[in-house]
Amino acid sequence: MSNLALLFDTPALALQLVVDGVLVGAIFALVAYGMALVWGVTNVINVAQGELVMLGGYVVYYLDRYGVSPVFGLPFAAVALYIVGWILYRLAVFRVVNGDLFTSLLATFGLSILLQQLMNQIFGADIRSVQADLGSFFLAGGLVTVAKVKLLAFAMALAVGAGLVLFLKRSRLGQAIRATSQNARAARILGVDTHRVYAATFALNAAICGAAGGLVAMTWIIHPYLGLTYTVRSFMIIVVAGLGNIGTVLASGCGLGVAENAAGFILGTEYETAFVFALLVAILVGRNLVLARQRRYLK
């Protein structure tokens, strides 16, 4: 707990944590928005979300090893993951669309275990990361460091998110996706091929995760077992922000990033993942208490 006092004594350190948290939070928000999209359209909570992030990270990592700069690797990761997402949908996910939520939860959990083990078998359990070597900015007289690569990742996450929103608003497919999410039956009557829309949504989400995974590989580390934390973070963000509104999603993503960084600093980094999962439980229970209180007022 002495770290907590340290945080109050040196505001620059606190600022550092906040800056890092906000920058990394944009990536969380991106993954969460993809999950919200799939959840809203197909009524599937994709537990394999984090594994898609992990796969995207591996694509960028291997491209980097063969000389493709990670910045240009991102589109490749997105395209590769779009294909992976499409295949996953055609093989398994389409069977649980609009079905019992628990079945889809368990099925995607199975997929996530499968992908984890497959990657572990192919690439090994080593921790990897892409070195971007971009240097850092120094603020507040050198007390606060902002790694340029994190800033870049933040900007790219925002750009991908903005592109996604534009796509959903303007393009034909995007409109079909939104129509299906509002009312699948009506969309079908109006001639939308909903099965194709479901597949496209899942694949699109995978592509977003792929890009996010590339950003994770650039700013952080990847290994076969990192998936579940990203899934849980996305779920938390959605629970707090609700489905759909990208502004709120971004805000809660950044909030989560800051909270996580602060917790990692105060409690020690070895407790950081435990904090994420404990926070999940706390948020769910807290949400339930709030809802219960609202119900009481209604009576």
């Binding site: 939860l105 368990l106 959990f109 579940l228 993942t273 999962f277």
Partner: protein, 320 residues
Amino acid sequence: MLYGALAVLALAATWLVPALTTQMTFLWLMILFALTWDILGGQMGYNSFGNVLFFGVGMYVCAVVQRDSGLSYYAALASGMGLAAVVSVALAALLGPAILGLRGHYFAIATLGLGVAAGDLAAAWEYIGAGSGLVPPPFPGAVGAREHFFYYLTLALLAATFCTLRWLYSRRFGLAINAIRDDEDKAEAMGIRTTRYKTVAWCVAALFLGLAGGPIGSVAGFIDPRELAFAGSTFGVWMVLMAMLGGKGTLWGPVIGASIFYVTQEAFWTYLLGWQRVAMGVLIVLIVLFFPTGILGWLRQRRARTQASAAAPALQGGAP
């Protein structure tokens, strides 16, 4: 008759197939997992991914008592298991009212978070060995006696679990939790104290899981926080699948499902070098996608269909 035959088989198994004693111990553990998961998942409709929490807590409590109590081996094991049961049940009673207030997938994901958080905490806490785990004290008896001792201990625990659940399901308790599964709001409106029943059901699961933790830690000989004690992506998911494969919400379904699942898993481990975990993932997806009703559920559907088709001509013939 059936029970007698099974009991004789189980008791004689160490003599019939001595090479498989440890595997058989784990088979009993798997059946215990599936049975205790089914209390909530099958009978009460609360699909938990985090029941492994109580197993891990029990394992660690027992191992710490064995390490620090200074008692003789058996006394330490017994008091460790006792304390493990108390701690697990207390934890379930404490968490129950909050966590069990969640419904559907919120409950499932919250319990998933609980299990993983516990594993991460155990892997970070120095007092219980952090990431390098704990080693329970060595068994004092002769070589081979350890396996036999824990085989019978686990078997006894399983028998106790099965009989307790059979008794509970035949009482008002079974009816109440079934009512909660079918329609919780209606059950509450009918005057069933749902929160109390739900918490008690979780406590029963926690009791047996906590008790089982201690002996299994000693069987394995090494307690790894994420791979053995809080193994969410293996034991935690397997519990669900085994109950599902056999048939959720039945007494024998989890037993059958766990047996088939565990034998398949052991076959994978023996014959698929390196790829066994991948094959396991494929199997999990296949079971969920193509066999969600389970073996007993499938048999029941089939019986209903044959009865319906047998009844149909009779009805036609009977009509004037």
